[in-house]
Each structure stands twice: as C-alpha cells, then as structure tokens.
C-alpha cells in the first residue's frame, strides 16, 4: 500500500519539474514576443541581416578553434616544463607562464598583428598570413599561460607513488608522462580546458578592433551603413545572444563533467 503511494507520487514530482520548466520557456517566449512588438522594426532588420552575420560568426568559431589549438600545444609543453626536475627549466617555464597569464590579451593580439609579416617564407614558398589567423594566434598565445597551469595542476594531482612504480619498472620521465601520468590527469584537465575554450572563443571578438571581419565587425559595418542610433543596443544584444547560444551548452557540459568525475573519485 505504502509503496504504491510512493511510486505513484514519483512521476507526479518529476511532472512538476517538467511543468515548471515549460512555464519558464513560455514566460521567455512571452517576453520575447512583447519585446518584438515593442521593437519590431530593428528586430526585423536584424533578422534580415542574420545570414550575413552568422556567416561572420563562423569566423569567430574558426578563430576560437585555432586559438585553443595554439593554447593547448603551447600550454601543455609549458605545463610539463613547469614540473621538470631541472630546476632552471622549471623556473623559466613558470616565469613564462606568469608573464603570459598577466599579459592583456588585446595587447598580445596587437603585438602579433604588427610583428608577424603578412606573408611568411616557408620551404621556398610565400605563405599568406591572414589577419584573422594572426588574431587567433594572438589570443592563443596568452591563453597558453592558463593551459600551462591546467596541465601543471593535472600532473600534480597524480600521486607520487605512480611515478615511483613506473620508474621502478624502468620507464623514463617521458614514458611516465605519456603512458601513466597524463592519461590519468586527462579527467581533471578536461573541464577547465573546456572553460578555457569558452573564454578563448568569447575573446575572438577582440579581433574586431583589428578589422577582422568577424561578428562584431560585421555588426558595426551594418550599423555604419544604416546609421540609426536606436539600433545600437538591439544589435549588440544580438551578438550577446549569438555567443551565449554557442557557449552556454559547452559551459554546462564542462560543469557536468566536473561534477560527475569528482563524484567518482
């Protein structure tokens, strides 16, 4: 009898959560509808611009991927060097990490913009380095300072006994890192790495200052062609929403992985 009441209650409780969620979605839709009726003209205009704007947002995504690739490769090397038994190497890596972590990203982007020539001579060929690529690398370089700390933390989280057991078997430092320590540290490094990816992607809008035609620049260009001050706020709200829709699921996933993996251990 009592079990019956409990089991019949459970779906009801789950149902309540569902109804609340539905109510929330409906409220949001109502709000959106109200805003739309209020600002019909600018919103219609933004919707008309959307295909072009989303095309330029693709550039933000590509820049984010290039930047996280640079940060991952550079930061992993730096993070491993920070844990080196050679004291000099470790100190140098720590200082470089500190420098990168304290460098304003915009300044790094500026430096790369002006220091790297627009074409590079590689293997007898001239390779054109486009501005978006320079900007992406400019974001990736300071981000590698954060990656360096993520990797250092991951390596430090593995107990010393694992190093001892592996060295007693004859593995050298490189082999221990590759086969024993880093595979185990991967779990604790993944959630912060995903957060770094989110931050890096958000920062790609910095490239707008350098004339790279990403989402922010694209919006500004549209605004310049249609000079109406009342468009300014909705247009920037629009970029906010586009970034949010892309970043939010990744950030949620990162949180969930962190929770799940910390519970298991």
């Amino acid at each position: 009898m009592s079990t019956h009441t409990i089991s019949s209650h459970r779906p009801a409780v789950a149902g309540a959560a569902f109804w609340w969620r539905l109510a929330g979605v409906l409220a949001l839709l109502a709000l959106a509808a109200w805003i739309y009726t209020r600002y019909k003209e600018p919103i219609d205009l933004l919707i008309a611009w959307t295909p072009g704007l989303l095309a330029s947002f693709v550039l933000n995504i590509v820049m984010g991927l290039v930047a996280i690739a640079v940060a991952t490769v550079g930061g992993t090397a730096l993070g491993i060097a920070q844990c080196s038994p050679h004291r000099r190497r470790a100190t140098l890596a720590r200082q470089v990490t500190l420098l990168l972590r304290n460098a304003p990203w915009l300044v790094a982007v500026f430096y790369l913009m002006y220091l790297v020539p627009y074409e590079i001579h590689v293997f007898g060929k001239y390779v054109f380095v486009s501005d978006w690529l320079k900007a992406a690398i400019g974001i990736g370089v300071p981000a590698s300072g954060y990656m360096s700390e993520i990797v250092r933390g991951g390596i430090r989280s593995i107990p010393l006994q694992q190093w001892e057991a592996a060295s007693a078997l004859g593995l050298d430092r490189r082999q221990i890192l590759r086969k024993v320590v880093l595979p185990q540290a991967l779990r604790s490094m993944t959630p912060p790495w995903m957060s770094l990816y989110c931050i890096v992607t958000l920062s790609t809008s910095l490239a707008n200052i350098l004339g790279v035609e990403e989402l922010m620049t694209s919006i500004s260009l549209h605004l310049a062609g249609d000079p109406r001050p009342e468009l300014l706020l909705p247009a920037h709200a629009y970029t906010f929403i586009v970034f949010f829709i892309y970043i939010y699921p990744i950030s949620r996933l990162s949180r969930r992985l962190e929770k799940k993996w910390s519970l298991k251990e």
Partner: protein
C-alpha cells in the same frame, strides 16, 4: 674486481650507507651483502631504515654517503645506468601502485612494450603466463579498482616479473592487506623465491620470514645490528635489541 670472481656470488654489496632527513639519520652506516638467489629478510622496528634501504638500492632515493653495487652497477655513482639497474631490480610496494587507468594485462605489458620494446603478441602471451603463475587467469581485462588488495598485489608482482629481474625487492607488501588475503600473496612470494630470483624482503610477518629466509637481518637505528640464519636469529638472538624486538612482536 672481486665481484667478477666466481667464488664471490654477491649480487648486492652495500657499504656504510648514510642518509639523513635534516638532523635525523635514517640510514646510519648500513652495510649489507646479498648473494645470488638468496632470500634475505629484513626485520626490525618501524623507522629503522628498512624501506629507505630498498628505495636507495633501485635509486628511488639518494644517499648522502656510502656505496651500493647491484649486479655490477654502482648505484651511488653520479649518473648510474638507471635503465639497466631497473631492468634487473624489481620492486613491489606496500600500496601496490598499479596504474588505475590500465587493465591488468596492460599494466603487465606496459614496461615490456615501452622499455624492452617487445612486440605486443609475445608480450601479452608472457603476461598471460605470469597471470597464471600468480593465479589470476581470467582477470586480464579487469581494472585495478575492481580487484581486492591481495589480487592487486599479485598483479603488481606479475607486472614486476614481466621485466625478468634478477633481484626482487618486497617492501612490506602485506602490510595493507586484509588478514585473509595475506596468505595468497605470501604464497606468490614463495613461488617467486623458489624460481631462483634473488629476494630482498622487508616484512613484519615473522613466521613467514622464519620459514622462507636464508638469511635474516635485524635493523635498528639505520644499520644492521645482527644477521644470521632464521633459526639462530629467532631462537637464539645475540643482540639485546634483537631480543627485545622479538619479544614484543612474537
């Protein structure tokens, strides 16, 4: 030079080891000889330097002064040949220290594959044979977290044997185990010892030491106080400190 003469079958030669942490001397003039195929047990109170001694023998810990020679390698040199040393000396730890992200089979084949550069086929074949030896056939694909302490420790022994060492060191390998699983691990060590590998065993299992050892060394205050065959050490100890220790533990 004396090491190469056939009459001298000493595989480990340790002279006057000193190692201090701050003002505390963990090893204080430790000297020890271990012959080939000998089963040597180290007994003594906690903190008397037994575990530290093992860790210095395969260069996991450094020493302040003194010399260690293992299988013709001077471990206490500035830059000893660590690879050769560790291929010849296996070590089993109290806390097993298996690699939790690898299956039992991968734990055993990791070193043969990456250090000895063996082919995967023969390496796995040998790993299976070793698992049979430690009576864990069928656990090839299990992960360390799914095994009991005794089973994990036996995998650790198989993992070490996969490198075909000439010396095996056991550092209080049953100290972290449930009483009922101690026996299965001791049986495994007995099998290893019977195969002719030189064994250096740090243990608190006095009955086991008495039964298995060729020589028992009693350590106290960072040095060896008394050595001899188990019958003598356990029945008629000469040193008063040995006597006092045995009275407490037996």
């Amino acid at each position: 030079m004396s090491l190469s003469t056939p009459a001298d079958s000493r595989q480990i030669v340790i002279r006057d080891l000193v190692k201090s942490y701050g003002s505390h001397a963990v090893l204080n003039g430790m000297s020890l000889d271990v012959r080939q195929s000998e089963i040597a047990c180290l007994i003594g109170p906690s903190g008397s330097g037994k575990s530290t001694l093992l860790r210095t023998i395969n260069a996991l810990a450094s020493v302040d002064s003194g010399t260690i020679d293992v299988c013709g390698i001077r471990v206490t040199d500035q830059e000893p040949d660590l690879l050769t040393l560790r291929r010849q000396v296996g070590m089993i730890f109290q806390s097993y220290n298996l690699f939790p992200h690898l299956s039992v089979l991968d734990n055993i084949t990791l070193a043969p594959l990456s250090v000895l550069k063996e082919e995967r086929g023969p390496a796995e074949e040998r790993a299976r044979a070793l698992l049979e030896k430690v009576k864990l056939t069928g656990k090839e694909n299990a992960y360390p977290g799914q095994l009991s302490g005794g089973q994990q420790q036996r995998v650790a022994i198989a993992r070490s044997l996969a490198m075909q060492p000439r010396v095996m060191m056991f550092d209080e390998v049953t100290a972290a185990l449930d009483p009922e699983t101690v026996k299965e691990v001791l049986t495994t060590i007995r099998d290893v010892a019977a195969s002719g590998v030189t064994c250096l065993i740090v243990t608190h299992e006095m009955r086991f030491a008495r039964e298995i050892a060729d020589v028992v060394h009693f350590t106290n205050g960072g040095r060896i106080v008394e050595s001899g065959p188990p019958a003598k050490i356990f029945s008629a100890p000469e040193d008063s400190r040995t006597r006092a220790f045995l009275e407490r533990v037996l």
